[in-house]
Amino acid sequence: MLVLEKNAMTEEIEQLVEKYGRSRSSLLPILQDIQRKHKHIPDFAQQEIARLLDIHPVEIYSVITFYSFLSTTPKGKYIVRLCQTIACDMQGKEAVAKAIERELGIKFGQTTKDNKFTLEYANCVGMCDQGPAMIVNENVYTKLTPEKAIQILSELK
């Protein structure tokens, strides 16, 4: 990381600490904001959060690795989470999964070379009555067909 980038990150984290409060209970909201913006939580950010909240950095790492929506390695601009739980499975998740893999040229768990898409499975997203469903960043899409899923992804810039 360049010094300039480091300074910018420190400033950003200071603002988040200001916004949510200088206590451990602010940790998840801070991590979520960093994740949303930078698509991961870099080592340097972890150290800075640790310093500003007065927690050991390894504690921060421990929390990040617990939650499936937080990551220490970079994710794509759009994180596609296809629901794999039984209701969506019965409504045709497999065909949608295969179509997305083909179209993006990656497998589940991978990120496209241009860092645009990361493809993951999610466990029950609460759309069982309208499956198959996927969540792209925070937006939810329901009643997917292979064609509809690809259409949605191709419209994302």
Partner: protein
């Protein structure tokens, strides 16, 4: 997103924002607790703890700070009733929280919303802002001197186990979402070590109606031990999946009729952690005293492969076990491997029986509800569908 006018007896009956708050603030705390006790309302998340008892314990506790937490970490496979409540009836949930705050003496409410529901965040925050403008939140609520209360929404980050109340509190405090030993319970040592009520979204949504119409009215619906109504999230093989409000005590047969399900082989009641009920038992009723559920009803038609269903459930638990206690971490993996062995036809009945015993051990030895309930599906599906799973084709039946 589909949004529809719903009709129902209790939760989906008519209600205007703030109505119950105004009525509640004219009453004493004891009066509200009395009505709640009369109603016999029990926790709607599935565990069924009497709500009045929980509130009473926190109301009676001496502490400078108390909290009311709304558990909106709806993660159980096949459950989506909280989605419907939060999107279409936020007034019930938030008014319920304000009334809880008044009754137990809390000034802060927190909604723990699962990360997957982030798309609701903006509309919910806008709603809270509107409540603040109407003085339904904030200082001296609706003119009641000294009653200050506000609600914040916190997001989860994709961990099913955080629906367990102590894991949820750990997560709010900025830790890994690992369940705590209980006791102490959150009513004594909850969020920030303070007395805390953690209620399911649906439990809180019932409160405004009980305050307005009384416990006696609420009790008219349902059975003796399961009063009122329940929201059922119905999915799977049926013509009309969706959220249904029905009185407790409705039988599985009646429910299947309502949702238009024909030639059904099995119904999974209570989600992945619930039990799988075969056709021969469809006369059982949905109630705390019979087939208990947090609302998840998944319907499997005649052509479904039950081993495939079970495999899907166990994969879910392997991924979602938090890993802190051995029975759950290792147990779920072993059960999952067992299913693969059956699938490949590389099993012995002696080993399968060992795995069923392991399941029983997990039920008693796991630290929290996740590991205590995850063997339910394994045990009930292998028991109720053994002909389908083991007979013929060397155990590879239905592939």
């Amino acid at each position: 997103m589909e949004k529809k006018e719903r009709k129902g007896i209790v939760l989906f009956s008519e209600y205007k924002r703030g109505e119950a708050i105004k009525k509640a603030l004219e009453k004493s705390r004891e009066e509200i607790l009395f009505e709640l006790r009369e109603s016999k309302l029990k926790g709607r998340g599935g565990a069924g703890f009497p709500t009045a008892t929980k509130w009473n314990m926190v109301a009676a506790a001496k502490s400078d700070k108390k909290f009311i937490i709304c558990n909106a970490d709806e993660g159980e496979p096949g459950t989506f009733k909280d989605r419907a409540l939060l999107l279409e009836y936020p007034e019930l949930v938030f008014d319920g929280m304000v009334i809880a705050g008044y009754t137990i003496g809390a000034s802060e409410g927190i909604v723990y919303l699962r990360g997957e529901y982030e798309y609701m965040l903006k509309s919910l925050n806008d709603y809270l802002e509107a409540m603040r403008k109407d003085n339904l939140l904030g200082k001296n609520i609706v003119g009641k001197n000294g009653f200050d209360f506000d609600i914040t929404i916190r997001l989860g980050s994709g961990a099913y186990v955080c629906g367990e109340e102590t894991a949820l509190i750990e997560s709010l405090e900025g830790n890994r979402g690992e369940a705590r030993n209980r006791p102490p319970y959150p009513v004594n040592t909850g969020y920030m070590g303070k007395p805390t009520v953690v209620n399911n979204v649906e439990t809180l949504a019932a409160v405004p109606h009980i305050v307005l119409k009384g416990g006696e009215w609420f009790k008219k619906y349902g059975t003796d031990k399961s009063t009122g109504s329940k929201l059922f999230s119905v999915s799977g093989d049926c013509e009309r999946p969706g959220v249904y409000e029905l009185p407790w005590g409705t039988t599985i047969n009646e429910l299947l009729e309502i949702v238009g399900a024909k030639s059904v082989k099995a119904v999974q009641v209570g989600g992945a952690s619930g039990i799988c009920i075969p056709k021969s038992q469809f006369n059982r009723s949905l109630a705390y005293e019979d087939a208990a559920t947090g609302g998840s009803i998944m319907i499997f038609g005649e052509n479904r492969n039950m081993l495939h269903v079970l495999k899907n459930f166990m994969k879910f638990f392997v991924e979602e076990s938090c890993g802190q206690c051995t029975p759950c971490r290792i147990g779920n993996t072993k059960l999952s491997e067992g299913i693969e062995m059956i699938e490949k036809g590389e099993y012995t009945f002696a080993y399968i029986n060992k795995l069923k015993e392991l399941g029983q051990t997990m039920k008693v030895a796991s630290k929290c509800g996740l590991g205590q309930s995850s063997p339910n599906a394994f045990i009930s599906i292998l028991e109720n569908f053994k002909e389908e799973i083991f007979n013929g084709n060397g155990g590879r039946n239905g592939k």
